[in-house]
Symmetry: C2
Subunit: 290 residues, 2 copies
């Protein structure tokens, strides 16, 4: 049985759907029922349920966006750095394998040769480089804390999307924002991310860090063109002149825009759809019914 | 009435002695009685006790020394960064003034002109500069989180000492270590620190950051000479050749050695003894009776 922490969030709900669809037994524990952020409560939960695997989708991402983390630093630091550290300690004590939802937002840009960052590249958008949002800093700190965690997967996702309209869906965001920042990014199809991370455990891949993004990268303008070509919305999209104007007029925290290399996952035999194809497919099946 | 959190630690016990000596009403709450790290519990405590002022001495410093923080990162981050953030939020909600025990260990060295760092100098030994111990990083992160906390004192102490033999006393440490690293530091006489911080509140000084160190700075060799001159111990002290040898053979985390300027406190009318005089006086009254 799989124990799912943070199962009510955007990723957590996707895991619930996936487990139900595939008849995989799981328990989703809500913080309202059991405050698993407290080590004694989580230890008791693990002893009672004796799960085979744990997935930590809990985190604080800020509402409506990452800027909210700048004014909720304590909660951001606790949920994104301390909680994974506590889970790691208890899983180590219990000999329980587990996976943590990390993030590719601990990078900015791409490698000097234009390729994406691999799992071996140290973060370059974190507290250590003093250039990051508080959110990215906390996610990178979690990777630092979990570096020596035994039997732990660190799954790095990036800007999630799928075919279902949702405030956390990248495509929804692009359709709704007044103005957009053109930048190149790797993205993660939400449901492919969930399936791929599950396969890591199902196939008993070696523990460690995995970039779980769709192969390739896209610019915001490319995605907008695909949205227009799909006919899902008809509107004129406006762009900020550059990142400086975006930061000056619309954002509080610097944003991570980056390209990740997902070759490690591919070499392990786990495939995700090429990113342009995945976006076009999501738009072709676009629905506002959740 | 004063509410003292973390009252069983080295600084906390000094506050307890001070309040008893001066007949100042206080309540010392232990985590064993009330887990004040949980916001709901601390909120209830504040509502029940209705203190006039709160002092947070709680923190994780590592045993026997700061190296332990490198292998207890989660606890270090929680106790030194998240907990003060939670206290700040609840004190703000309750309109309660309070003081937090910060640290001068978020600096290394001195200003380019050889003078000590003032409260206006940003930290230079923290995650943002990627040169620090995990402990220093967490203490600096707390200052970042508390930057906009209303009605909050941030009291920066440094390497505490007094006349009572104790594993946390700098003089005891120097007497017991096999080998010493020669470095220049500002220090805080433990009991003078407690008295000075209390005066901040008693005199209703403006809230904000205060370096609470004894004026001046000393090198390790100077302190050793004073120890020898005092006759408290008779032994040959050995020194590491340099910081590189110390780091290679004896330490895990880089150490903060730094000079702080305590002029802000002085200008506010709060005096601490010049550091050499304070050390000589502690040694003249040296006792192994706690």
């Amino acid at each position: 049985m799989i124990l799912l922490l943070g199962g009510t969030g955007y990723f957590g709900q996707a895991y619930q759907r996936f487990f139900r669809q595939h008849g995989i037994p799981f328990r989703c524990v809500s913080r309202r029922d059991v405050d698993y952020t407290q080590p004694t409560h989580l230890a008791r939960l693990l002893a009672e349920l004796r799960p085979d695997f744990l997935i930590n989708c809990a985190g604080y991402t800020g509402t409506p966006n990452v800027d909210a983390c700048e004014s909720h630093k304590t909660e951001c630091l606790f949920a994104n750095s301390v909680l994974p550290g506590r889970i790691a300690e208890l899983c180590a004590d219990a000999g329980l394998p587990w996976g943590h939802l990390s993030s590719g937002c601990i990078y900015t840009g791409c490698r000097p040769d234009g390729t994406g960052f691999t799992e071996d590249d140290p973060p370059n958008f974190d507290f250590r480089h003093n250039n990051c949002s508080f959110y990215s800093g906390c996610k990178a700190l979690a990777e630092e804390i979990l570096r020596d965690a035994p039997r732990c997967y660190l799954w790095r996702g990036r800007i999630p999307f799928n075919h279902i309209d949702h405030p956390r869906n990248y495509l929804t965001k692009l359709m709704r924002y007044d103005r957009l920042l053109d930048a190149r990014n790797s993205l993660s199809h939400l449901d492919e991310f969930v399936r791929a991370t599950w396969e890591c455990w199902e196939r008993r891949l070696p523990f460690g860090i995995y970039n779980v993004t769709n192969p390739g990268s896209v610019t915001t303008r490319e995605v907008v063109e695909m949205i227009l070509a799909s006919g899902v919305v008809r509107k004129t999209f406006h762009f900020f002149e550059n990142e400086a104007e975006f930061m000056r007029t619309a954002a509080r925290a610097p944003r991570s825009n980056c390209v990740l290399d997902s070759g490690k996952l591919l070499r392990a035999g786990i495939h995700l759809t090429e990113v342009h194809d995945a976006i076009r497919d999501a738009l072709a099946h676009w629905t506002t019914n959740r």
